[in-house]
């Protein structure tokens, strides 16, 4: 069974972002890393291929600047190869343009299963997985907490408001997985060394047959009209507990008449 995992390479979330005041979009001049949210998809794919006994895990990623840092991490975990779609015209892409590009790249590899995270850590629109599925004409199941595959069918535990649903889905399909559902492995030293020589096929838009005016700034068809500082909430009273802080909390709750 061949699995494609969509992995987004993002600036380190620990490093707060900044908006470019001229273009009103994220400044992306820092090194990119593997989005932690996608490390769960990579791990799940490796486990599924292992369980199936054959097949491989391939990665698909899109970024305007040709970065491979995040891909190398996922390759070091055990993925076999990657397709990197990179083109300057991709800068400023919205979620639908992103999905069009990912779908075109996924098609080249014709996998049995496509895994994504439910939402990325930086843009977190959470719409890319369904958009990819629709463009490819595939079924999809979002918010997967557990995935197993039996022949031509996947069974997914899908998170719901009150618990979870068990969903059967014929393959090929797009499945998005939530964070924390598996324990992503740490790349071993051997894995890191091997990753350096694993194939990363770099494609531009022309190679995918995508018109550059339909993606990036040109294709986004949405605009930010205004950026403002959010109203800050004021800090209140801070006391140091000397053994009686619980009384202060009780009095606070009493005043609000919530008890």
């Amino acid at each position: 069974m061949d699995v494609v995992v969509c992995v987004k390479q993002i600036p380190d979330p620990a490093d707060p972002g900044e908006l470019n005041p001229d273009t009103k979009t994220l400044k992306r001049d820092t090194k990119l890393i593997l989005d932690e949210s996608d490390s769960y998809g990579v791990e799940m794919a490796l486990q599924l291929v292992d369980a199936a006994g054959s097949g491989e895990v391939r990665l698909v990623s899109m970024t305007p600047g040709g970065e491979t840092g995040g891909l190398r991490t996922a390759l070091a975990m055990g993925a076999e190869s990657a397709i990197l779609v990179s083109d300057e015209a991709l800068a400023g892409s919205d979620s639908l343009s992103t999905a069009k590009v990912l779908a075109a790249a996924i098609k080249r590899s014709n996998p049995d299963l496509i895994l994504t995270a439910t939402e990325s850590s930086d843009g977190y629109t959470g719409t890319v997985p369904e958009q990819v599925a629709e463009i490819l004409g595939l079924p999809s199941v979002t918010f997967g907490k557990e995935v197993s595959v039996d022949g031509e069918q996947a069974t997914i535990k899908r998170q719901t408001e009150s618990g979870y649903d068990v969903v059967d889905c014929p393959l090929p399909a797009v499945i998005s997985v939530t964070a924390g559902v598996v324990e992503p492995r740490y790349p071993s030293f051997k894995g890191i060394m091997a990753a350096k020589n694993k194939p990363v096929e770099e494609l531009d838009l022309a190679a995918l047959g995508i018109d550059p005016t339909t993606v990036g700034w040109a294709g986004a068809r949405q605009e930010i009209t205004e950026i403002a500082d959010a109203a800050a909430r004021e800090a209140g009273e801070v006391i140091v507990d000397e053994g009686e802080a619980h009384e202060r909390i009780m009095a606070f709750l009493d005043d609000l008449k919530v008890l």
Partner: protein, 321 residues
């Protein structure tokens, strides 16, 4: 563009309309002349409640027959749009099915979708979505630049649901066309995780625990406290990822947004991604042993102290009441 006619993606279970749907209706009513709902399942059982909240028509796609909502509702709306009977604007909630519908539909109609919206405002003949970014430190306003349907995905608790006293909405059937392979996933079974007390996003008091509790067993203090104040227990992502409690407990950017009367944060540092989910609370109390913890920057009452000392005493005091 234009927003004279707004449709809300309706969600309901067992004849009860989800609060997010009623919240979206309240805002839609403020913005548009014509407010309608598109929903799957037994539309007749919810037509009265939806009408009471301002919907004039409920477009029913009928039973899902164990299929998933996303492809079916998206296909029905796309057909309505291509026949000229669709809305100008579709509002979906940031929910499991809401995002599916919005994503599918945007790809079908080749139109953008504006997500993580917490407010909507008119800008000429279009609507702008207000998205908080960078952990809620900046507000951006986004609008589309193309003709056709505008899709917004709106976070729960952005608006306050309000009854209008209106009569029941009329129910009309909306056809679902051929789904090809896109509709082949089938729900085989449903599991409800046991929980007592109010729902996290509807509770009047939320008691949340974080990594500062030290070990999973200590989370019991949070559950005990929550039950004593008839509230709901919540958690930071750190303890959800560590497997102490299920994802459904998570408050924050990638979890639930809560706006209770009181939010009590215990052993939570106050990372921006956590704050996005709770800083709309009317009152915030924080207990943290580090006086520099960012959570104190937004707390109305901050206790610099050890949760293992303060919480047992607080539990005792509440039990004595």
């Amino acid at each position: 563009m234009g927003f004279a006619k707004i449709w809300v993606h309706g969600e309901a279970s067992d004849g009860v309309v989800a609060s997010i749907t009623l919240e979206l209706l309240a805002k839609a009513r403020e913005l548009a002349d014509s407010v309608e709902v598109v929903i799957a399942g037994d539309a007749d059982s919810v037509a009265a409640e939806l009408g009471d909240h301002g919907a004039s028509v409920v477009h029913s796609i009928g039973s899902l027959d164990n299929g998933l909502a996303g492809p079916r509702i998206a296909s029905a709306i796309a057909d309505a749009c291509s026949q000229g009977s669709g809305p100008d604007v579709l509002l979906c909630g940031t929910t499991y099915d809401g995002r599916d519908v919005a994503g599918r539909l945007s790809a079908k109609l080749d139109t953008p979708v504006i997500t993580n919206v917490v407010d909507l405002k008119p800008d000429g003949d279009r609507l702008l979505g207000h998205e908080p970014v960078f952990g809620g430190t900046k507000d951006v306003f986004t609008g589309t630049t193309v003709e056709g349907l505008d899709i917004f995905v709106v976070r729960p608790k952005s608006f306050v649901a309000e009854s209008t006293g209106g009569g029941p909405a009329s129910v009309s059937t909306l056809q679902v066309g051929d789904l090809g392979n896109t509709g082949t996933a089938v729900v085989k079974d449903q599991f409800v995780e046991e929980s007592s007390g109010p729902r996290l996003d509807e509770a009047n008091i939320v008691v949340s625990g974080g990594r500062g509790l030290g070990e999973p067993e200590k989370y019991e203090m949070i559950e005990k406290l929550a039950s004593l104040v008839k509230g709901a227990p919540g958690a930071s992502r750190a303890v959800v990822d560590a497997g102490w409690v299920p994802y459904s407990y998570q408050v924050g950017q990638t979890g639930k947004v809560v706006k209770p009367t009181v939010y009590l944060a215990c052993g939570i540092s106050g990372a921006t991604q956590h704050l996005v989910g709770m800083k709309g609370s009317a009152n915030i109390i924080a207990i943290n042993k580090d006086e520099e913890a960012p959570i104190f920057g937004i707390a109305d009452l901050g206790i610099v102290g050890d949760v293992h000392k303060v919480l047992p005493k607080l539990i005792e005091a509440l039990e004595a009441q």
